[in-house]
Symmetry: C2
Subunit: 240 residues, 2 copies
């Protein structure tokens, strides 16, 4: 049976302007691979309401799961929750359960739950809160979309809250063989191997060290015995 599919939507001007290098995509990719969910597409859009709404609709309709990152803080440019609500045609306002979490958090820290911070309690009707053990302000799941923070430590904690609840598939297994020859030398061998093992994905990633060409051949699939067989055949054909 095929694994469940997923897409990710990263929201933030700071990524697209080159100010910040996104870290959440690479983290999520690794976690999904372990959990047996295939990440098939990522989109990065700016803090623009119509761009966010259009991307959420497109991805939500095409994949089993969508994970978003960014835009759920207390400032004017944090518009993700409202855009997601609109994409689902859901009503959104400050919700009592989220407000209670924030109230308890700010009472404890002696800060005021002011109007800006209350923005973080805006949750669409029907959404399920995602726990935030780092800084309390929750994410949420609506339909097949999981809405999470952009700050990496919070994003990672939210992924840890969400992933165990999702149906996973077979973890993607992989083996890598380093070949100290140029890609062009081994391409024909790889192509016929890919034909013979069409249940596996065979990738070739070239490198150059001190002027010498080489490539890492990565074979991925759900069944370890098949990967073993393909690797053995590859090594034999390359006289390794």
């Amino acid at each position: 049976m095929a694994n469940p599919t997923a897409a990710m939507l990263v929201i933030g001007d700071e990524i697209l302007s080159g100010r910040t290098r996104d870290a959440n995509m690479h983290y999520l990719a690794g976690e999904l691979t372990k959990h047996g969910i295939d990440l098939n597409e990522v989109r990065i859009v700016s803090d623009d309401a119509s761009a966010i709404e259009a991307a959420v609709k497109a991805l939500s309709g095409s994949y089993d799961n969508v994970f978003t990152s960014g835009g759920i803080g207390p400032t004017h440019d944090d518009i993700t929750a409202d855009c997601i609500a609109r994409a689902f045609g859901a009503h959104i306002d400050v919700r009592d359960d989220a407000r209670a979490l924030l109230q308890a958090h700010y009472d404890k820290s002696g800060l005021k739950l002011n109007e800006a911070r209350l923005r973080m309690a805006r949750i669409p009707d029907g959404a399920v809160l995602i726990d935030n053990p780092v800084s309390t302000a929750p994410g949420f799941t609506i339909g097949n979309v999981h809405v999470m923070a952009g700050v990496p430590s919070v994003f990672q904690a939210m992924v840890a809250s969400v992933l165990p609840k999702l149906t996973g598939g077979s973890p993607l297994l992989s083996q890598t063989l380093r070949v100290d020859r140029g890609e062009g030398d081994i391409a024909a061998t790889l192509a016929s191997l890919a034909d013979a093992y069409d249940d596996l994905s065979i990738g070739c990633y070239p490198f150059q060290i001190n002027g010498a060409f080489g490539a890492n051949v990565v074979i991925r699939g759900a069944e370890g015995t098949r990967i073993d067989a393909a690797m053995t055949q590859l090594a034999k054909e390359l006289d390794l």
Copy 2:
């Protein structure tokens, strides 16, 4: 006048599986910002022909420039050039100009220009070659799409070949103010500042160091005097 727009398409299973952390997006974002081209969207798709073709069509129709990264090497999983040709309805085959470049390169290095390496001379009719000073195999521009390699050193060299030929706009300028207070404390001030300076983009990026909350406020725009004015007003309102 508004700056020209751009999108990027990153192609590669290795990014989506979490094996490799993409570096080209962050690099391109910084270069485009300097050149006055606004990067509005990024998509990452796997080595899947229909996904690549659909993404190229969508992005090419929506933005002034599209930059792709990955999938133009000699192996069976390098299918980008053929997908781009299909997206543009262009004929593609080994082209004499590209073959001549490769032939000279491999003659010099004493390697054979075999069938696999010849794949890298597959260029759509009507496309203009992009110079590759690192490893010779060229990229190409067709319509508003610039097709480049995934290996970061080659990608960067190709960006350097392409960018000077493109119409730029005003470089995006920015100033950053570090505020040692929680985002929620300064959000109201930022919101009214954003209203007053609607030609600028005002972003707020929270951090936490040794348990203390703070935020970097970044003001971006095309006119330095406007950014100066907004920063001065912000500092005043926050008593800094």
